[in-house]
Symmetry: C2
Subunit: 742 residues, 2 copies
Amino acid sequence: MDPSLLQDFIPVAGLLAVAFAIYLARDVLSRDTGTKEMMEVSATINEGAVAFIKRQYLTIGGLALVGSVIITVIISLLETKSVADTSHVGIDIGIRTGGAFLIGAACSMACGIIGMLVSVKANVRVASAARRSLVEAVQVAMRGGAVSGFLVVALSLLGVWTIFAINGGLDTANGTKDAPFLIVGYGFGASFVALFAQLGGGIYTKAADVGSDLVGKVEAGIPEDDPRNAGVIADLVGDNVGDCAGRGADLFESTAAENIGAMILGVAMYTLALNAGWSNPTAWIFFPLVVRAFGLVSTIVAMFFIRGSETENPMNILNRGYWVTTILSAGALALVTNAMMNTGTQTGPNGIPTWVFFFGCGIVGLATSIAFVYITQYYTAGSYRPVREIAEASKTGPATNIISGMAVGFETTLVTALTIGIALLASNWLGSQAGLVDATGKNIGGIFGTAVATMGMLMTTAYVLAMDTFGPITDNAGGIAEFSRAEAGARDITDRLDAVGNTTKALTKGYAIASASLAAFLLFSAYIDKVNLILGNQIKAGVPNVHLMTSVNLADVNVFVAALIAAMLVYFFSSLAIRAVGTTAQAIIVEVRRQFREIPGIMDYTGRPDYARVVDITTRAALREMMLPGAVAVATPIAVGLLLGYQAVAGMLMVGTIAGVLLATVLNNGGGAWDNAKKYIESGHLLDENGQALGKKSFAHQAAVVGDTVGDPFKDTAGPSLHVLVKLLATITLVMAPLFIR
Amino acid sequence: MDPSLLQDFIPVAGLLAVAFAIYLARDVLSRDTGTKEMMEVSATINEGAVAFIKRQYLTIGGLALVGSVIITVIISLLETKSVADTSHVGIDIGIRTGGAFLIGAACSMACGIIGMLVSVKANVRVASAARRSLVEAVQVAMRGGAVSGFLVVALSLLGVWTIFAINGGLDTANGTKDAPFLIVGYGFGASFVALFAQLGGGIYTKAADVGSDLVGKVEAGIPEDDPRNAGVIADLVGDNVGDCAGRGADLFESTAAENIGAMILGVAMYTLALNAGWSNPTAWIFFPLVVRAFGLVSTIVAMFFIRGSETENPMNILNRGYWVTTILSAGALALVTNAMMNTGTQTGPNGIPTWVFFFGCGIVGLATSIAFVYITQYYTAGSYRPVREIAEASKTGPATNIISGMAVGFETTLVTALTIGIALLASNWLGSQAGLVDATGKNIGGIFGTAVATMGMLMTTAYVLAMDTFGPITDNAGGIAEFSRAEAGARDITDRLDAVGNTTKALTKGYAIASASLAAFLLFSAYIDKVNLILGNQIKAGVPNVHLMTSVNLADVNVFVAALIAAMLVYFFSSLAIRAVGTTAQAIIVEVRRQFREIPGIMDYTGRPDYARVVDITTRAALREMMLPGAVAVATPIAVGLLLGYQAVAGMLMVGTIAGVLLATVLNNGGGAWDNAKKYIESGHLLDENGQALGKKSFAHQAAVVGDTVGDPFKDTAGPSLHVLVKLLATITLVMAPLFIR
């Protein structure tokens, strides 16, 4: 097949996905919105969420504007001819980078806002559907989630493609090979927004959750999401602003940044193909975009397989769609690698064509994704050893519950690291077998193999993100059902969906971590390519004492110290994020206690708590508290680069990724396991020595609630923010490289 | 001064320290042993401790024997002429290495046993002295601790010196430059024993502590160390076997391994000095031993400054001695660097003599030690923000207490990493200014500078270890006073000493971490030197395609994956250690509950609990549980080396050190802060909104007890075991290097 035909398919697939998202949104909005009570509470949630998002995105937008001006100035001043990686220098490249940053930031914000708005509209409709049918409720929730999923991935694809086109990338004769370097600002803009969106939303949602649970469930002894609790609306708002808006921004930037990094690696393949005289050398640069376009189409098809029976486990219904997406993606991968990786007569060993090896790399990526789905389930679902172990430990109180949960969290790094290690080694080995050797005699197929694996993994992003957003939508639907005191049948269904939503949220985090680790190599190699392009230009210009960067030497003291600081950064950043939740939660507790005390009649439903005040307190605190960790994350790599140089930054990037991925694993899985240990006890699975179930309100359950509360900021604030931090390290260094080479 | 005179001083100082330790031990043993009740409980503790140590060291001894045989066989088979680093090959080097391993293991075991025995004798005498005088109690406890301190450091010094002499190190004409490579087995043997001693002791002590606290203080509502609690003797035994025996073995191996590593780096300086024709080139190899000898003498002098008044804060009395040790060490450092670092007419910039730069490096080491003393105090003492923050968070329950403590633990990595980073950069820079350039034009002064800084830091080890052992001795004395229901005045004094002991134990951990990080560079460079010696011999022998190892390239996939596995290892290892404590503690809880239920009259003191049964259960469980983490720690670096090669092992070593040091910091300081937040509340410093103290048994106090319990296995099992793990990685790779090069 002609590769240029496939290249033309990129915007088509993107627009198709947008159209499909609009179709899904209209479908969701056409559903009935339930009882009057449901509509009321839904409107209150909507109000709080919109108020928060407005203030948050105004703040972030302001920061992004300032950021883009600073970047424009820095790059204009620094990226002079002597340190430029392309022929664009000075103000030209400064404005291109700053502009790309701003567009990336704007797209990321748009994703966050749209995802949140749809989710707020979908939750009440799911609550209403739950009064009638499980399958209908699943479909509404999943379609609501898919609106986010498709829009995020499509906007990321169209955004990268458009800015690539603006920078001359479609001019295959001249522009394609330079354009990837000109658009790195886009990824940085996306990470920048994602960082603050995830931090602010994560702090908000967990402070509200922890605060209202502690003061409601633990102190006052009333159920979760009970309308007498003044913090409960803030909690429901939090699900939308944290889990929907935050994760949307996170995965938007993942796909964008990793896509651009893979295109930069494609430039080396392009040069090779050009020199060897293979046809369509630019196909290597377009490849990441095309693969993702086919991933989107596979996901659209898969949406029609989300069906099942009323008695089925809802997770099976969702899994069906996931497997369809994966299988179609694998087929598409074969088509795309076969069409685009033309190496003429050159083959790997035994005459196996080059594309077969890279097809294998893509399959490694898809397999890694599947592996993480099962690993996460094992560690966070109630049917396996880890969660049971925590539940057992709860019998001797909160201390042993916490100790046991930490042990489980730490333990999860084992399979995570081994899986990532095997995926990296396998894709690198497959790629290196393809026989691609550059002009200096270096085999460059291995690194490109890891990039192809990452792209393969990202094919299913839209589906995974849809499953993820399913989580907060059903969580909210359950909250609305409880709050509006809906009939028991509806609450049973929303409870079942909520439990599945917890699993899908955990899966998405595993997926995000795995893709960040696979991408580490790709982004890191893109950084080295960019540095060497600059150093190479300096060497050509006759600057003395300049050598290409051939290794990142850990035995160099500067690199070692940078690595130490990177590993520290992930702890310190998490500390700030966790503390922010604690501080904000305590403010909520104090306020809700005051309302219980001072507003008469709350407990017998005759007095109405002042929900808005708690929402307001939480909003202000969350936005204030997100500034410090955000600033630390942005400033540290720049400071290290300025003080210790460009090689040290590379070390920081690598070790920061390792440390960040592992700590995020600990926090996410530990938190998920605590959560489900509590649910395990609540469903009566934990038995005492006489075989009696230790259910709700037992000593063990109280201990498990402590663990669940501790896990909240771990798994929903610090952990997901670490994903973004890791990728921010990559995009910031990619953009700021000229600053470190002076 | 003639350097050879200083070299002769090594065994003299070692023997002097042993003699002084014997004098101190006799002094302690001559003190009165208190009331009949005190003697009784002390005898029971002694019995349990000896029983545990006997079983533990029989197990460890067996493992060490097997280990030495395996090492002898592996090295004999593998270190053939083509991969040997010296002229000793085959069975010769195999037996040397295996023998050194066994001697190192034996010395380490001796240190652990002696330290424990003295501590068990000292505690009852401190309890008795506390009935009369604070200063006397401090003196007895500190002298008891100093017996351990001096013996550990002196045995390490004499052991390295003896085995160095046996391997021809005193033959300065031929043997000195080879001997450091022949004795690496000694360090490995010491780490091997330290690992199991720290793990077994750490699991024992914290399982007993957590178990008996939960079932006694929390459930039954009786005070800590109350005789009605069947777990209390096991708890008191634990202080001795975990804190004394474990830490003794830990610091024994630190000093031994880092000393040998520094001597290996000294060989490069020796070669340089020989080629340049400077006098006494072997002085560079002897330097680490001489510096430590002077450190010992400084500490002996300082012991006479441990005096003060009855009303003084006991910490001040101990600090006085620490500062005397530091100041005398600084003076000795000037003397030794001046005498031993003779570079003829060669100087650094501006004519500053070479030795001045290395004197500066040593001062950096001493300063790092002081910095860690204050950092640890800030983060774990009740007078500063972090502990207060945790105490405040306890007002809203155990969940916020845990969240806040984790945030503090994570936060402590900031100053830790910055201090270590600055120390490394400073000592490396100072060393690199000294103008020492080897035959290939490489400046080798920087790395040696970091080694000198490490040696400077280790000068105060004996004093720090004495302060550390002061901790468990006073902890035990308090337990004996409480258990024997001694008069209130005595208990007041032991409580005050116990609080100081908590601080000194935390300080020692900070010290151990800082020295491990500073030493990372040294041990790592020693590994590279050894690998290059082997590769160099292969190149000389004409083996094709062999290159010297010039960098540890993180951009290499194998190195990156090894680094990922290293960072994972520290989590997984900690997970196993923490889980072991949880498992063992639950067994204790079940048993103590059974005794409360089934033995009549325990609560009104008419029935006697079956202490021995709890001791026995704990012993068996702890020894069983130490095997898996120990095996994982030993097997992982070997597996990585075999699968991914010698460069990957170097990456594993570096990143494992970074990850291990930071996680240990989190666990140690988080645990210490939780502990002292509880004490802060107990002393009535936490006030409610009306200004009333929230003391013991308040809601906040109960929450703080949960945090304290969670912190126990963090700070006393996993954290200290990580120190040993980090150093084991270094010694194991140093010994096994030939295995990875094939």
